[in-house]
């Protein structure tokens, strides 16, 4: 509830406060107006009631007098009272008339309405007066009866007065009115006392009943006077005290005692009547005085209540209008300012900082508005400043970024920055990824990044070195001297292939505000230059060695060299055999045995001019000599054996080289064009490679020439043409595809073999492949299909002839033709060339394993090795 109240908009909060206040004020105001109005109304009515009441009192007073006179008239035979009675009756009637006139005059509607019943009742009693007077005139009623009848009328009249004036809400007035009423009652009893006294003195006696009545009248008269004295104000009581006193009152007291003692009532009734009347007239004066006073004060009250009613109303309305005006002015101003501030803050929060707020009042809201304006001004200022800086930074960033990007994309060096945690910066040159074959470089710790690439001890050194990179106490040059990866070999892996690289890594400190902020690292790949250098060095060395060996061989007679090599190999073998066989020999004997042999060989080498070997043997001899000077142990021989082994290897190498040289000589053609022979083989090899690649098969061509057969010049081209056709046929038809070979349990690579042989008269060329051999059924079928033979012809053919069907014109087993096979010309060409050169051939095969063709040509004798020797 309270929270709900707190959450209300200010406008509603005002309403919550003000509306109950207004309701309370209006309600209070209404009560006040009503109270004043009632007061005013009451006083007016009371005023009128009092006027009417006074008129009634006048009537009562006259009836009282008429009552006494009537009583006297009835008792006194009428003589002394008659005149008096008539006069009194006139007076009574005139006061009654006066009363009616008063009743009709003025605005008594309210009063009449309120007391209609009482006033009507009073009127009927007043009307009875005439009847009563008739009874008196005719003396039909007794004195006592007349007293009672008049008293009844007076009683009703007085009660009417009481009712008329009993309504006032003014307590003081009400009390004085009551005092007046008690006084009137007392006076009424005084008046009856006068009548009874008159009667008693007239009859000179007071009967028991009348006596009792007399005492009661006096007692009650006194009782009402007591009541009057108690409640009447001081003014009235003292006025009564001043007025009702003196001889008349003392005389009344004396005559009362006479009546009370009831001895002899010799007093004159007229005297009693007179002094009683005097007393009653005194009472009447007090009554008039009180009536006047009450009327005056009622008038006063009435006037003042009218005055206060109107004063209150005017004040009330005036204050109400002022209060309402103040309230609406202040509240509407407050609300207006609040809504101005609200609209303003909304504008600001939506980003419009160019706005300004204007509030005229100098209250807190006005101050807030000023503060807001200052704030907005400051915001605008910093906004502008920020925007300027941002634009500047943007411009710089775009330029620098663009340039950096171009540099990083194109530079061949790996460049990146290290932060204080040795993390590799986001931006690094593209070359980094190429050098390290790694895409994930950014954010890696440099040491972790290098861990898989370098050796553990290098990594350890790198980590130590990195600790000094940011150490400002150490000079940068000194730190860089510790760089363990200044030049380092790394092993990178890409797609499962491990590559070794040589890289150079350099570290440069980057300062910002005199502090080392970053380390710039540059990495360059030096693999190529280093490898090239190594390669060149090795090649140079090898070349030199080979040249030396070749030269040493070339300058020695081949047969002598062969003899030396053969002898050396045998001798060295002898040493190792002796070692294996006689392990328990004396070491010194063994040593001298070895020494003798090596010494002998050294001598031989030097004799034939084989300095290379001579030097080697000399080294061995030196080693043995060193051993001979001290005690020899088993393990010392290991070194000797190693050296002997090395010498043996050198001899083997020289032998190989010698046979290579011999081979080269042998391959030369008859006319000294040995290179032509080699070139044919090269041509066939590259032809086989080309064809096999095109048909998606894998083959190797083996050329075997153990007899060092040299093709005569006239056979070179036929040999080449035949072989090309056969190789093509093998690859296309014979060799299975890789899957087929694998399922047949063969090596994936198909084997084609050319073997050169000779016998007494012939040059023999044996061509074979390890393909699927010949499919005779297919050959037969194709032969029939091609129209080469008939079905019946086939049945009479020998096995050898069937095989030769493939050499027939127009034969092909291929289902489609391409440049390699299927035109049915290849094998026909082969048989044609053989025939042209007076050759012969035969074909054999093993189903699924082998195809072989042996070609023979007449041998043309040309010993190429010997020819240069003859020259």
């Amino acid at each position: 509830m309270i929270k709900r109240l707190h959450n209300l908009p200010i406008r509603q909060k005002f309403a919550v406060i003000i509306i109950p206040l207004i309701v309370i004020i209006l309600a209070f105001d209404y009560l006040q107006v009503r109270y004043h109005y009632l007061d005013y109304n009451d006083s007016i009515r009371l005023n009128e009631a009092i006027i009417v009441g006074i008129e009634i009192n006048h009537v009562v007073h006259e009836i009282q007098k008429e009552r006494s006179i009537s009583s006297g008239y009835l008792l006194d035979e009428g003589a002394s009272f008659e005149e008096k009675l008539l006069a009194q009756r006139k007076t009574t009637d005139s006061t009654i008339n006066q009363y009616f006139i008063e009743l009709k005059s003025g605005n008594l509607d309210d009063l009449l309405e309120l007391h209609r019943e009482d006033l009507d009742r009073l009127n009927t009693y007043f009307e009875r007066i005439e009847t009563l007077r008739g009874g008196i005139d005719e003396k039909r009623i007794t004195s006592e009866e007349s007293i009672d009848r008049f008293s009844d009328i007076n009683n009703v009249a007085l009660n009417t007065v009481i009712k008329l004036i009993d309504e006032t809400r003014d307590k003081d007035i009400a009390q004085q009115v009551h005092a007046l009423i008690y006084f009137l009652k007392s006076k009424e009893f005084a008046s009856i006392e006068r009548a009874i006294g008159t009667q008693a003195f007239s009859l000179n006696q007071l009967e028991f009943n009348l006596y009792n009545r007399f005492t009661t009248l006096v007692a009650n008269q006194n009782s009402y006077l007591d009541a009057f004295r108690i409640i009447a104000n001081e003014d009235f009581v003292s006025y009564y005290g001043r007025m009702v006193t003196g001889d008349v009152i003392e005389e009344i007291g004396r005559m009362r005692e006479v009546l009370f003692n009831n001895d002899s009532l010799a007093e004159s009734p007229a005297h009693w009547y007179e002094i009683s009347t005097d007393k009653i007239n005194l009472l009447k004066r007090v009554e008039d005085y009180m009536s006047d006073k009450i009327q005056t004060s009622v008038n006063e009250i009435s006037r003042s209540s009218v005055r206060s009613f109107w004063t209150f109303l005017i004040l009330d309305i005036t204050i109400g209008i002022i209060a309402f005006w103040l309230m609406t002015t202040i509240v509407s101003n407050l609300l207006k300012n609040v809504s101005i501030l609200e609209a303003f803050t909304k504008k600001i929060s939506s980003g419009n900082v160019k706005t300004k707020v204007k509030i005229d009042t100098k209250d807190e809201l006005g101050k807030y508005a000023n503060t807001f304006n200052k704030m907005v001004f400051e915001i605008r200022k910093s906004h502008f400043e920020l925007r300027k800086q941002r634009d500047k930074a943007n411009f710089m960033y775009k330029n620098i970024y663009g340039v950096s990007l171009v540099v990083f994309e194109n530079i061949e060096q790996g460049i990146f920055l290290l932060d204080k945690e040795f993390k590799i910066s986001k931006f690094h040159s593209k070359a980094m990824r190429e050098i390290f074959s790694n895409e994930r470089i950014s954010g890696e710790n440099f040491a972790s990044f290098m861990r898989p690439l370098i050796l553990p001890r290098e990594l350890e050194a790198l980590e130590m070195f990195m600790r000094h990179l940011f150490n400002e106490d150490m000079d940068e040059d000194v730190v860089n001297q510790l760089n363990p990866i200044d030049q380092v070999k790394i092993h990178t892996e890409k797609d499962g292939v491990v590559t070794s690289k040589y890289i150079r890594v350099e570290f440069t400190r980057i300062f910002r505000k005199d502090k080392i902020n970053n380390i710039m690292v540059s990495v360059s790949d030096e693999t190529e230059s280093i490898l090239l250098q190594q390669h060149l060095e090795e090649a140079e060395k090898k070349k030199q060695q080979e040249t030396e060996r070749v030269l040493s061989i070339l300058k020695i007679d081949p047969s002598i060299l062969r003899g030396f090599l053969h002898n050396s190999k045998k001798m060295l073998k002898g040493i190792s055999e002796r070692y294996e066989k006689n392990s328990d020999d004396e070491y010194s004997d063994l040593l001298s045995f070895t020494f003798d042999i090596i010494h002998n060989l050294k001598g031989n080498a030097l004799v034939i001019g084989m300095d290379l070997m001579g030097n080697k043997f000399h080294e061995i001899e030196e080693s043995i000599t060193k051993l001979q000077s001290k005690e020899v142990r088993g393990k010392d021989f290991l070194a000797i054996l190693y050296e002997v082994d090395e010498a043996d290897r050198m001899i083997t190498e020289i032998s190989d080289m010698l046979s290579k040289i011999v081979n080269i000589y042998k391959k030369l053609p008859a006319e000294g064009d040995a290179a032509s022979n080699m070139m044919v083989v090269d041509t066939l090899e590259s032809g086989a490679e080309t064809i096999s690649k095109e048909v998606g098969k894998n083959v190797e061509l083996i050329f075997q020439n153990e007899d060092d057969v040299i093709l005569a010049k006239q056979y070179i081209d036929p040999f080449k043409d035949i072989m090309i056709q056969l190789i093509r046929n093998s690859i296309v038809h014979g060799i299975e595809n890789p899957e087929g070979r694998m399922s047949a349990g063969k090596s994936v690579v198909g084997r084609l073999k050319i073997e050169m042989l000779r016998d007494e008269n012939n040059l023999i060329i044996r061509y074979s492949d390890d393909g699927k051999g010949l499919d005779m059924e297919k050959i037969k079928h194709k032969a029939v299909e091609s129209g080469i033979v008939t079905e019946t012809g086939l049945k009479s053919m020998e096995e050898e002839d069937l095989k030769k069907l493939i050499f027939h014109e127009g034969f092909s087993t291929a289902d489609k033709t391409d440049k390699h096979a299927g035109r049915g010309r290849g094998m026909q060409l082969v048989s044609g060339i053989i025939a042209e050169n007076n050759g012969s051939f035969n074909v054999s095969y093993t189903q699924g394993e082998l195809f072989e063709m042996t070609i023979r040509f007449p041998y043309i004798d040309q010993d190429l090795l010997e020819e240069p020797a003859e020259e």
Binding site: N212, T215, T216, S223, Y224, I230, F260
Partner: protein, 120 residues
């Protein structure tokens, strides 16, 4: 045996009025007092069944007399006789042990009704 009554009032007419009324109804008015002093004396000596005690006497107030005679051990029933507008005085008397009160002026019937009620 008729009940004995002491009438206390300074007005001879009131005493006469009360006496006449009560004797007419069969009560025996054994004494009359017109002031406080004689009222106390008579109450103590006569020990009447009933005392009608006027509130305002020349020397004392009625409730003062009531207080005294109650202290003296008088067991008479007391009816306070009061003028209009003396309600506080009447209340004082009632709290001191008065049996009833009657407001002046009263009729004979009014008086007898209250006396009969008190004495029954």
């Amino acid at each position: 045996m008729s009940k004995s009554v002491l009438v206390v009032d300074d007005s001879i007419y009131m005493r006469s009025l009360i006496k006449t009324a009560l004797e007419g109804a069969g009560y025996e008015v054994v004494g009359e007092a017109q002031n406080g002093e004689s009222a106390i004396d008579l109450a103590c000596s006569l020990q009447p069944d009933l005392i009608t005690l006027d509130n305002i006497l020349p020397d004392m107030m009625g409730f003062e007399i009531l207080k005294v005679i109650k202290e003296e051990g008088v067991e008479s029933k007391v009816i306070m006789v009061s003028a209009v507008g003396q309600q506080t005085v009447v209340n004082k008397g009632l709290s001191l042990g008065a049996a009833e009160y009657i407001v002046k002026p009263f009729t004979e019937e009014d008086l007898l009704k209250i006396v009969d009620k008190v004495m029954s």
